[in-house]
Each structure stands twice: as structure tokens, then as C-alpha cells.
Amino acid sequence: MSVPLLQINNLSIEFNTRRGNLVAVEDISFEVAEGEIFGIVGESGAGKSLTGKAIIGLLEAPGRISGGKILLNNERIDNLPYEQMRRLRGKSIGMVFQDPLTSLNPLYTIGRQLIETIQTHTNHTATQAKNRALELLREVGIPAAEKRIDQFPHQFSGGMRQRVVIALALCVNPKLIIADEPTTALDVSIQAQILTLLKNLCRKHGTAVILITHDMGVIAETANRVAVMYAGKIAEIGPVREVVQNPQHPYAQGLMASIPVIGRKMKYLAQIDGSMPRIAERPSGCAFHPRCPHAIELCNKQIPELLNKGKTKAACLLFRNGNP
Amino acid sequence: MLKRFFDSDLVYSFTRSPVTILAGLVTVLYFLASIFAGFVAPHNPFDMASLDIMDSFIPPVWEVDGDPRFLLGTDDLGRGILSTIIHGSRISLFIGFSSVIFSLVLGVGLGLVSGFLGGKLDAFIMRVAEIQLSFPAILIALLINGVLRGILPVGQQSNLAYYVLILSIGVSGWVQYARTVRGSTMVERNKEYVQSARVIGIHPLLIMWRHILPNVMGPILVIATIHLAVAVISEATLSFLGVGVPPTEPSLGTLIRIGNDFLFSGEWWITIFPGLALAILVLAVNLLGDWLRDVLNPKLR
């Protein structure tokens, strides 16, 4: 088997604050293969965005990587000097942010922002870069690209702006794109368009995507594999179909049960009681145990590891001896 | 309550910043020295009878002709510089403080009325505020000062100098208070409890004030602290320009003005020491204001 595009090994992220070190992401590992769409799903505060920022090397102080490795094409990138990491950003790893309204510099035309990015990473002349920019705008489905290229961001609608953002992320054909809640800020009717666009473009160029979202529906429609994060750890990881249809971890089960299914009559929408603990208040043992319907005594003492269970891996003590 | 206060970010950041502690100490020192000026100062510079013209122009102690009675030397009338500085700070602080209170009361009042009543009055007040804000405070203060002195009879001018100053500086500084309070008032105005207050017969303005107060306390404290520094500078500037406190009972600004005439003849201490005293006072208050703003305004952190 060939080497995966991206490997995350035992990554931990800490915040050093005046009240001590807070561990926001703890000892997580996963791999992303070339061309794959890998979903990370979880509630806000679960650590999914931090993981994305750590991969592209944009964690903000006081957050920092406190352990583990990140490997891209089998080379470590978590400890690169700033200038080398900068060259990777955009060229090997692209990123799409949540809010297209604020992701673009309001004072520059979108053409200028595209050309600037292209020329940063290639030796294109101004004309070549402009042609490439036009090509990209057409590719992401912006009509009348020749006219639009000289316009400013505020002259675009939200959905159109997100298309521009995607074009910017894809500028120089990176191998991996991290999409952090790419559709959350958009109208529901536009969300599907943007997701389809992202999916098709990545398939066409063989780009892998890490899709970070709190919306399990988005993952179910788009991703190949998924990691469910809870309180800084991966609760369950596996092929999307398995995790959605046959979740193993009690948290994942609760999450899937709470997705409404069109056509099936339900009296109440299922929910998980309680809420995810804040970083500083995480319980001992398995962080989910206070809310877990299957919790046993051991759960508040021992931190569970990811174990094979069926076709997925789940971090739950219930599976420690291969049962139930 | 007290425990919460000591655990708060305010106290934490205070104890963590040596510069702020120092600034706090210096400010307290100035206040104490001003309040107890009569006890702290080695001489009473306003007692003309005790002055001896033979004592004039004595340099500071460490210079060749220094006199141990006058640590920082004397001025042209034989007044000890240290004593005039202590008494001068008292006057400067008094006028600065009174001006701040004046601005605060005026600004908070206008802001409350403006935000509560809205409409034409609000538009008018805010228009005036805008126009005033586009001119530097010192220019406004100078104008008011000039007008007041034009209205007052000549003989009364130096007796009323304090009030003229407080009024000129006070009126030139109300805008920021008014804007802050107005904003808060407008947020609260349409809330339901205000409507219900009418029903039970309490004036809505009264009940709103209770709700607005906690919201505006922080910003107003910050504005007032920084304003104190500005007011002290304004007083000193007006006095230096010769339209402030008369030389018989000089403030820091007046002292600098007096000393400035002797700068070229080599008696530098008459102007430099009051100048330093003024600069240190303003710097300390500014540091406190900066710190308060950083702590009370998390957005800027």
C-alpha cells in the first residue's frame, strides 16, 4: 500500500493560559489518502477547526502543537520553519474558510487577489496569471468571468464569493484542501451547489479534502471517510457509510439518531442530553461518560483508546475485550 | 463580593504590571501631597510676609550656590520651588478634577436625555457634539475662556480665574461622556422593563439609569481617567498662555510660564522642575488610563 497523502500521528494541541495549560486536542491520529474526502464532524469546541489550522500551520498563539507529528507525503510539516511552511500553504495545502463575506480583502479586486496568489507560487507572467485566473473563475462557475475579474468582493453575492474563495484555494492545484465549515454561512439553497462544486473539482484534479463541519448531513453526502470528534478526541473513525448507518460509539450513535430522515415519521427529534464540556471542565476518564447512556464504572477512570469494532474504530471502553 | 474583586482581571492585571503599580503609586502620592500640601510643603509660598527677596534665584541644593533650606532652589520672589510645586499641583489637580466632574455630569446628563428623548433634541445635541468634537478641546477652552473674560468685569477676573478655567475645560470635554451614555440609553430605551416601569409609576429614566449604569461604568471610568490627564494639561496650557491661574497663587502651568522668562538667564530650575512635575503627573495618570482601558475593554486586548 502506498504512503497516504497526509498522516496525523498522536497530535495534541495546547493553550497556555494564565490558568494553566488547557489541552484542546489530545492525541489524535488519522490519515487522508490522495483524492479522498475526509470529514471531521463534531460540536463547536470539539477541536476540529484547531486540527485543521494545525495542519496548515496557522494555529494562533497561545495555541500550539504540544505533541505528535503531521506528515505530508511522508515528510514532517509540523516543525518546518515559517518561510518553508508559507511556501507549502496554498501550493500543497489550500484552505477554504467559513465565511466568504469576510474571507476576501474588500479593497482589492478578486482578479488581483487571484493573480497575486498564482504569482506567489508560480513563475507565471502577469498575462499568464490573468489567463489562469479567468480559467479558474470559469471553472468555479462564475458567469461573465472577464467582467467579474475586475470587480470587488462586495459586488458578489455570498455564494459567488464562496466560489471565488474556492478558486483561490485551488489556484495552483494543491494536493489537499482543508475546508472549514465551507457552507455554514451560506443559504441552504446555495450550500448544496457549493458542496457539489467542491466535490466535482476535487475529483477532477485529484485533490484530497478535509471537510470540517458540525453538519452530519453534509458529511454523509460528501465524504468518503469520517472522524467524529468529541471534547478534543476522536470518538469514532471509519467509512462514512458505516459510521452513518451503523455507528458504534455511543456519542456517534446519539449523533446519527438526531439526524431527521425525510419520509420517516418521528414524534420527537432525538437528542443527546446535556452539552459538551468546556475545555477546562472536561471530566476524567472518557470525556463522554457523564452523558453516555451505557456508561460503566470504569468510564470515569480510564481513557478509552480507539479499537476496531466492525468496519470502524471507536474509542469506547465497552469494546475493550472485543465485546459486547 | 470582595473576594470576587480580588480575583478579577482588574486586580490580576494590576499586580502583573509593575509600570501600572508605579503609576498608581505616583498618582496616589500626588493626590496625598496635594490634599495635605500645608503639612507636606517645607514652606508656605503664598505667605508673602515669610518671603525674603534675598532668597531669590537660589539654585538647587546640589549646585554650587545651593541652600539646604531650598531643595530645588527658589524663584524670583524667593519662593521655594519644591513648595510651589506641591501647592501648584494642588491647584492643578483641583481644577483638573473639578473640570472632569463638570464634564462628566454635563455629558452624562445630556447623553441620557438625548438617548432617552431622541427626536429633534437628540439630533441637535449630537450635531453640536459633532461640531465641537471636530475642533480640538484646547481651542474650545480658549474660546470659552476668552468669552467669559469678556463678560466678567475686569476686577473680578483673577478672583474667578478658577471657575473660568473649570467652566472652559469642563465644557470642552463633555462630548465623549454624552456619546457613551447615549448609546447605552438607546439600547435600553425600548426594552420591556422600561415600559413596565411606566405602569407602576416610576419615571422610566430613573429605572433605566439603574440598568445603564453598570454598562457605562467601565467606559466612563476610562474616559474620566484619561480626561483627567487632558484636563490637567489643558489647565497648564491655559495658564502657560497667560489666560489661566494668576501668578500670585500659581498652578504648575503658571509656574512654568513664570520660569520660562528666566530660562535664558541660566535659572533653568524655575521652569524645568515644575515642568517635570507636570509631565510625571500626567504620565502616571495616562498610564493608569491606558491600563484601565485595556482591562475594561477586552476587545482591544
Partner: protein, 327 residues
């Protein structure tokens, strides 16, 4: 765009009208203009005749209208003290103040903006801390004290620079300039620094605060995520976005430089309008006070208009939404 400019012009007119009103009220009701013009031995009858001739018995509105009309034609009356036309006196002293203000404004911008950018980018560097400390001292030292300290150091102790006046001036077409002689330029150094220092620290702190704020925005994060160089991000994307507020404040600052010139001109005995204004306050010479107020207000309004126009150059959003946003 045209609608926006017309609206701003209209607002400026209101401001000017308001200031004129204040100036007129001052002019008319502070002290008695007649008393100021005649000697003690003038009889009551003569005074009343003069009063009638000057129109001081006319209704308020008429007097105000006349004041505005005269002001529009550049007539602000006769100085009580100097017995000369105020406009003539102001014009005579205008070049001195303008040259001083211009040089100190350029000085504060050229030094203040780079210092602000630097402290914004290197927030915790030792040089930044030094700059911040320096700026606090700059704000805490009153303008006149800075002037005195400079005089003490460079004029009294070192004797490098003159302590007062403009040096030798050359007259070109009625404009007396100090730019063309060595002594004129030397005389300009200390006043310009004194006047510019406060503005410099304000501009530096403002640019720093804006820079810090802009650096936290999504588009800067996205620019980083695209791998743009720090140079492009900081001096292209970030700096340009800080410019809108900086232009606003700078415009206002240039206005206040004109006003702070009063203090600087007093310290350095600089023969400009500010010094004259101060003397007019000391002597309650109302016509000069009123005229100076009107003139300063005119400059402020003018600067504000220029600032508004500059927005259009910098911020493309305004070109489309301006009328809507201000409506």
C-alpha cells in the same frame, strides 16, 4: 457620488452657519462694540449715533445677516486693539502658520505611520515597547513643555538653533516664506517638531491599533492560508485596510495642528495667526477671535470634504454604497 458630495457640502454649510452664529453672538454680545471703538470722553448722544450708524439697534436677524454677508466678502471688521482691518492682519500672518503647520503635518505622518506599522507588526518586540513608551511620553508632555525643553536643550545649552522667530524670510508675491533661507529653515525645525510630536504619537497609536485589528480579520488569515509572503500581507492587504480610519484621523489632526499652532507659536514667538489669536484673547479683541474662529472652521470643513473624497479613492465599497449607507 454626486449626491453624496452635495449632501456633504450641505452639511458643511450647516456647520459653517452654526460657527458663524457662535462667532456673531460673541462679536455682538461679549463686551460692547461701541465702547471698544470710542474714547471715554465720547458723549452718550455720540455713542447712540454710532450705534445707529453701525446698525447695532437693528433686529438680531438683520445684524446676523449683515455679519454673514460681510464675512462672505472677507470683511470681519476692525480690530479693537490694533484699529486695523482684521482680514488684512490675518492674511499677513497666514503664511507663517501655514508653513509651520504643513511641515509639522508632513513630519508627523512620515514618522508616525512607519512607527505605527512597526509596533503593530512586532507587538512584543523591545523596539515596539520603546516606541509605545515614547508615544505615552509624547502624549503626556504638554506641547508648550516640549517646546520649552527643546529650547532649553538646543537653544540655551547647545546654542544650535534659534529660540524664537522665523529667521530671515523672503517675500514672493505677497507671500513671506521661510523655506528659502538657511536661517528660516533652522528656525522652523524646533517649532515643527514641537507641533508635530503630539500628532505623531496619535497617528502612531492609531495605525498600530488599526493594524492589530486588521491582522485579526478573516481575509488576512485567508491571505496567510494562501501562502502569500509577509511583505504582501502586511504592506499590501493590511496597511491598505488601515488607511480609511487613518485618513479620517489625519484629516482631523491637520485641523488640530492649525489650532495647536496657537501654543507653539506662543512658545517660539512665531509670528503667525495663532499668536495673534492668543493676544486677542488676552485683550478680549472680539473681532479677531470671531474671524479666527470662522477661518479655522472653514479649514476644518474643507479638510473634512477632502477626507471624504479620499475615501472614494481608497475604499471601493463606498463608490457603490455611499449614498445608501449614509441615507
Amino acid at each position: 457620488m454626486a449626491a453624496f458630495i452635495i449632501r456633504r457640502l450641505f452639511q458643511s454649510l450647516i456647520v459653517m452657519f452654526f460657527v458663524a452664529f457662535v462667532a456673531f453672538t460673541m462679536f455682538r454680545y461679549v463686551g460692547d462694540p461701541v465702547n471698544q471703538m470710542v474714547g471715554i470722553d465720547t458723549s452718550l448722544v455720540q455713542r447712540e449715533a454710532l450705534r445707529e450708524r453701525l446698525g447695532l439697534n437693528d433686529p438680531f436677524i438683520m445684524q446676523f445677516g449683515r455679519f454673514v454677508l460681510k464675512a462672505l466678502s472677507g470683511d470681519f471688521g476692525i480690530s479693537y486693539q490694533h484699529k486695523r482691518p482684521v482680514t488684512e492682519m490675518l492674511l499677513e500672518r497666514f503664511p507663517a502658520t501655514l508653513e509651520l503647520s504643513l511641515v509639522s503635518a508632513i513630519f508627523s505622518l512620515l514618522v508616525g505611520i512607519p512607527m505605527g506599522v512597526y509596533t503593530g507588526l512586532h507587538r512584543y518586540g523591545w523596539l515596539s515597547r520603546f516606541f509605545m513608551m515614547f508615544s505615552l511620553i509624547g502624549i503626556s508632555l504638554p506641547t508648550f513643555l516640549i517646546g520649552i525643553l527643546l529650547i532649553f536643550l538646543f537653544a540655551v545649552q547647545l546654542q544650535w538653533l534659534p529660540s524664537f522667530g522665523r529667521g530671515t524670510v523672503i517675500e514672493i508675491g505677497g507671500w513671506r516664506t521661510g523655506f528659502l533661507t538657511i536661517s528660516g529653515l533652522k528656525a522652523l525645525i524646533m517649532p515643527a517638531i514641537t507641533l508635530g510630536l503630539f500628532q505623531l504619537t496619535l497617528i502612531m497609536r492609531l495605525v498600530r491599533a488599526e493594524m492589530l485589528e486588521v491582522l485579526l480579520t478573516d481575509y488576512i488569515k485567508f491571505a496567510r492560508a494562501r501562502g502569500l509572503s509577509n511583505k504582501a500581507i502586511h504592506f499590501g492587504h493590511a496597511l491598505k485596510n488601515t488607511m480609511v480610519p487613518v485618513i479620517t484621523i489625519t484629516g482631523l489632526q491637520i485641523g488640530s495642528i492649525l489650532a495647536f499652532a496657537i501654543i507653539t507659536e506662543t512658545v517660539f514667538q512665531w509670528p503667525g495667526m495663532g499668536l495673534m489669536f492668543l493676544q486677542s484673547i488676552q485683550n478680549v479683541d472680539i473681532p479677531i477671535m470671531a474671524a479666527y474662529l470662522m477661518m479655522i472652521a472653514f479649514f476644518f470643513v474643507l479638510i473634512n470634504l477632502v477626507v471624504d473624497l479620499l475615501y472614494y479613492v481608497v475604499d471601493p465599497r463606498l463608490r457603490v454604497d455611499a449614498v445608501k449607507a449614509h441615507g
